[in-house]
C-alpha cells in the first residue's frame, strides 16, 4: 500500500493535500481528461476483473450460502434456535438490524448533505458510498423480517384493507420503523439509480458484447445527454438531496424511538435520536473508509479517490467520533444528575456489571482509537487508517449490543438473566457480511463505481474560460469548481 513519502509528495499529491486557503486542491489528480476519466471507471465494468475479485466473491458467496441455510433452519425450527429469550428478547437480530441500518447512513449523507453544502470532493466517493448504503439497508431489512417469527406474515406490517378488518397500530415505534426504513430504502435506491443513469449510458455506448449493450441500454432508459434533460435531471437531483437530508436524519431517530419510547432504564432518554444519528454516521463513514481504501488501490482509482478524499473522510470520522464520545459522556452525566436509582444502576451495571467487557470494547473502539486521527502523519498511513475504520465498525456493533444488554437487568431482580448468543446467532451475523459483500462485489464488477459525469463537472476543463479557445460571447465561469485547477 502507498504511504506518502517525500518522493511522491513532490507532484500532484502535494498540491492535493496542501492546506493553502487561497486556492483549492484539485479533485482529480494525474493528467486526466474527460476520456481518461471515462476509461478509468468503465474499464472496471467492461473488462475481466482481477483474480482477487473472484477470490473475494467466492468467500462472500460462501458466507451468503451460510446465511441462506441458517434462515431455512430458522424457518423450519422457530426462533428458539437463537439466544433470544426473556429478559433479552431482542438479542442479535435487533443488534444486527441497528448496526446495518446505521452503516447505511453514510451513503446518503455523502450524496445529499455534502451535496447541499457544495462539498465537491464528494463526487469521487458518492457512488459507491450510496451503493454501500443500499446493500447495508438490505442486510438491515433482513433481520426484523426474520425476527417477526412467522415471517410469512411479515406483510401484516403494511397497512392495507384486509379481510380481518384490522389496521396496524400507528402509535407504535415499531410501525414507524417500517415506514422510516421502507422510505429510506426506496429513496436511497432512487437517488442512487437516478444519479447512475448518465453513467449507465456511458457504459451502454462503450459496451462490446450484445448482452451488455442490451442490459446497459435498458438500464440507461435511452439517456442521450440532452441539455434539456440535464436541466430537469439536475433539478430532480437537487430536490432529492433536499428530501433525503431530513430523511437520513429521521431514519435513525425513528430507530432510536424503538428504544427511547419504552420505559427500560438506559433506553428511556431524550438524547437517543441525535446520539443514534451521530453513531450511524460514524459507523457508516468507517465502513466507507474500510471499503474505499482497498478499492482505490485494487481498482486503480487513485486519481479519482485522491489522498485528499481519504484525508477528508478521516477528519469526518474523527469529528463524528467526538460527537459520539460526547453523547456517551452526556448519557452517563444525566444518569447521575437525574437521580433516578434505576437509571443510575443501569449505567453502573453497563460499565461494571456482568457484561461490562462489552462496554469497554465499545469505549475503546469508538472513543479512544479514533483519537489517533488527530495526527496528519497517522491519517496518511493507510494501513493504520484502515485499522481505525475497522475498529470503529467493531465498536459500533458493540454499542448496539451494549444497549440491548440493558435488558439483562430490568426493574425486577427476579427477571434478571444473562444473554448468550447461539452458533446460529453468530453464523447469521457473519452471513450478513456475506450478503453485503456479495452485493458490493457485484456492483464493483458491473456498475460504474465512480460517478463519471459528476467527476467531470469538477474538472477545470468542464467550465467556460478554462480551455484553449476564448470567445467574446462566452462568460468565464468563475463560480462552481473552476478554481479547482492547479495554477
Amino acid at each position: 500500500m502507498t504511504t506518502l513519502t517525500p518522493d511522491n509528495l513532490q507532484d500532484a499529491a502535494s498540491a492535493n493535500l496542501a492546506d493553502d486557503p487561497r486556492r483549492r486542491a484539485p479533485l482529480v489528480t494525474g493528467d486526466q481528461d474527460f476520456a481518461s476519466v471515462t476509461e478509468t471507471v468503465t474499464h472496471l465494468a467492461l473488462r475481466k476483473p482481477p483474480r482477487a475479485w473472484y477470490i473475494a466473491f467466492g468467500i462472500s458467496m460462501a458466507l451468503l450460502g451460510l446465511l441462506g441455510v441458517l434462515i431455512l433452519y430458522l424457518i423450519l425450527s422457530g426462533v428458539g434456535v437463537w439466544g433470544n429469550n426473556q429478559p433479552v428478547a431482542w438479542g442479535f437480530p435487533i443488534v444486527n438490524f441497528v448496526f446495518w441500518v446505521g452503516i447505511g447512513h453514510a451513503g446518503t449523507l455523502i450524496s445529499a448533505i455534502l451535496f447541499l453544502f457544495r462539498q465537491n470532493w464528494r463526487t469521487g466517493i458518492n457512488r459507491f458510498a450510496e451503493a454501500m448504503t443500499i446493500f447495508a439497508v438490505v442486510c438491515a431489512g433482513l433481520f426484523p423480517g426474520i425476527h417477526v417469527g412467522r415471517l410469512w406474515l411479515a406483510y401484516w406490517l403494511v397497512p392495507y384493507p384486509n379481510q380481518m378488518a384490522m389496521w396496524p397500530n400507528f402509535r407504535s415505534p415499531l410501525l414507524w420503523d417500517v415506514f422510516a426504513v421502507g422510505t429510506y430504502a426506496t429513496v436511497s435506491l432512487l437517488f442512487w439509480y437516478v444519479g447512475m443513469i448518465p453513467d449507465l449510458a456511458t457504459l451502454r455506448d462503450r459496451a462490446t458484447t450484445k448482452i451488455r449493450k442490451i442490459v446497459y441500454g435498458l438500464l440507461a432508459l435511452g439517456w442521450r445527454g440532452s441539455n434539456r434533460h440535464w436541466q430537469r435531471f439536475e433539478k430532480a437531483y437537487l430536490l432529492l438531496a433536499a428530501l433525503a437530508t431530513p430523511l437520513v436524519l429521521s431514519v435513525h431517530s425513528v430507530v432510536s424511538f424503538d428504544f427511547a419510547v419504552s420505559q427500560v432504564p438506559g433506553w428511556h432518554t431524550t438524547i437517543f435520536p441525535p446520539y443514534f444519528v451521530a453513531g450511524a454516521i460514524f459507523g457508516g463513514f468507517a465502513m466507507v473508509l474500510a471499503l474505499a481504501i482497498p478499492a482505490r488501490q485494487w481498482f486503480g482509482l487513485k486519481d479519482l479517490i485522491t489522498p485528499r478524499h481519504v484525508d477528508n473522510m478521516a477528519k469526518i470520522l474523527l469529528g463524528v467520533g467526538l460527537m459520539v464520545t460526547y453523547a456517551y459522556a452526556t448519557e452517563v452525566f444525566i444518569a447521575w444528575y437525574g437521580q433516578s436509582p434505576n437509571e443510575q444502576f443501569a449505567f453502573i451495571n453497563r460499565a461494571f456489571g456482568q457484561s461490562g467487557w462489552a462496554y469497554w470494547v465499545m469505549v475503546t473502539c469508538n472513543c479512544f482509537i479514533p483519537q489517533l486521527l488527530w495526527f496528519g502523519k497517522l491519517r496518511r498511513n493507510l494501513w493504520l487508517l484502515w485499522g481505525v475504520a475497522v475498529a470503529v465498525n467493531v465498536g459500533m456493533w458493540f454499542e448496539r449490543f451494549v444497549i440491548i444488554l440493558s435488558l439483562e437487568r430490568d426493574f425486577v431482580p427476579s427477571s434478571w438473566g444473562q444473554f448468550m448468543p447461539t452458533w446460529v446467532d453468530m453464523g447469521m451475523l457473519v452471513g450478513s457480511f456475506g450478503l453485503f459483500f456479495t452485493l458490493f462485489l457485484l456492483f464493483c464488477r458491473y456498475l460504474p463505481m465512480v460517478a463519471i459525469a459528476e467527476v467531470k463537472t469538477v474538472m477545470p476543463q468542464a467550465h467556460a474560460g478554462h480551455g484553449d479557445k476564448q470567445y467574446d460571447d462566452v462568460e468565464t465561469d468563475e463560480s462552481g469548481t473552476a478554481d479547482y485547477r492547479i495554477p
Binding site: T183, T186, W223, R224, N227, L247, A453, A464, G465, D473
Partner: protein, 200 residues
C-alpha cells in the same frame, strides 16, 4: 403514419431527423449554442457528457416546472398519511365495507387520535411521494425511458457520453435549411457535421 411520412413520396426511403454538429470543448459548445439560439431556431438541443454550467442560459431555456410537481407529490403524501392514520386509529365506525372500516382500539389509555404519534408516518410518506414525483416527474418530462432515438444512428454520437459535445437542429424546425444550418455550424466552430436519418 407520422406527419413527415405523409410528405415523403417514397415511404421506404429514410426521413431526415436533422443535422448534428460535433464540438471539441465546452467553450466552443457554449459559443455555438449562443449562435444557434440567436439564429432563431426552436427545435434544437445540445448534448454533453455532463451538465455544462451556463448552457441553459446560452440556449435561452426556461426554468423547469419539476419543483411544482414535487410539491404536489409532497402535499399528496401528507394528505394521504394524515387521512390514513387519523381515520384508521380514531374514526367512528362508518357504514362501509368491513375492510375499509376504521379500527380504533385502546392502548395504555392513550387517546384514539394520538396525533403526535402519527407524525413519523406522516413525515415519511410525505418524503416518499415527493421523491416519487421528483424521479418519475423528471423522467416523464424528459419523455424517458425510450428504446431508440434517431441520434443513436450516428456512430460519432456515442462520444456524447464520454468527451464530445453536440448540437442537433431538427428538420421539423421552421427555419431548417440544410445547407444554411451546415454553414452556421461550421462558422461556429464545429469539428464535424452530419445528417441524421430517422429510419424508424
Amino acid at each position: 403514419m407520422t406527419e413527415s411520412q405523409v410528405d415523403n413520396p417514397t415511404p421506404d426511403a429514410p426521413v431526415t431527423y436533422g443535422l448534428l454538429a460535433e464540438f471539441e470543448d465546452v467553450d466552443t459548445l457554449l459559443h455555438a449554442a449562443v449562435g444557434v439560439r440567436d439564429a432563431g431556431f426552436r427545435r434544437w438541443d445540445c448534448f454533453s457528457p455532463f451538465p455544462v454550467h451556463g448552457l441553459n442560459k446560452a440556449m435561452g431555456m426556461k426554468d423547469t416546472r419539476l419543483p411544482r410537481l414535487v410539491f404536489g407529490g409532497g402535499v399528496a403524501g401528507l394528505g394521504i398519511a394524515v387521512a390514513m392514520t387519523v381515520y384508521t386509529m380514531s374514526a367512528d365506525t362508518l357504514d362501509v365495507h368491513y375492510a375499509l372500516q376504521s379500527y380504533p382500539y385502546l392502548i395504555s389509555g392513550k387517546p384514539y387520535n394520538s396525533f403526535p404519534a402519527f407524525i413519523p408516518v406522516i413525515f415519511e410518506l410525505t418524503v416518499l411521494l415527493s421523491a416519487f414525483a421528483a424521479v418519475f416527474g423528471m423522467l416523464g418530462l424528459n419523455r424517458l425511458p425510450r428504446l431508440h432515438h434517431p441520434l443513436f444512428n450516428s456512430e460519432r454520437f456515442r462520444r456524447a457520453t464520454t468527451d464530445r459535445f453536440f448540437i442537433a437542429v431538427e428538420a421539423d424546425d421552421e427555419k431548417y435549411d440544410e445547407p444554411a444550418v451546415r454553414r452556421l455550424f461550421e462558422e461556429l466552430g464545429a469539428s464535424h457535421v452530419e445528417v441524421i436519418e430517422d429510419n424508424d
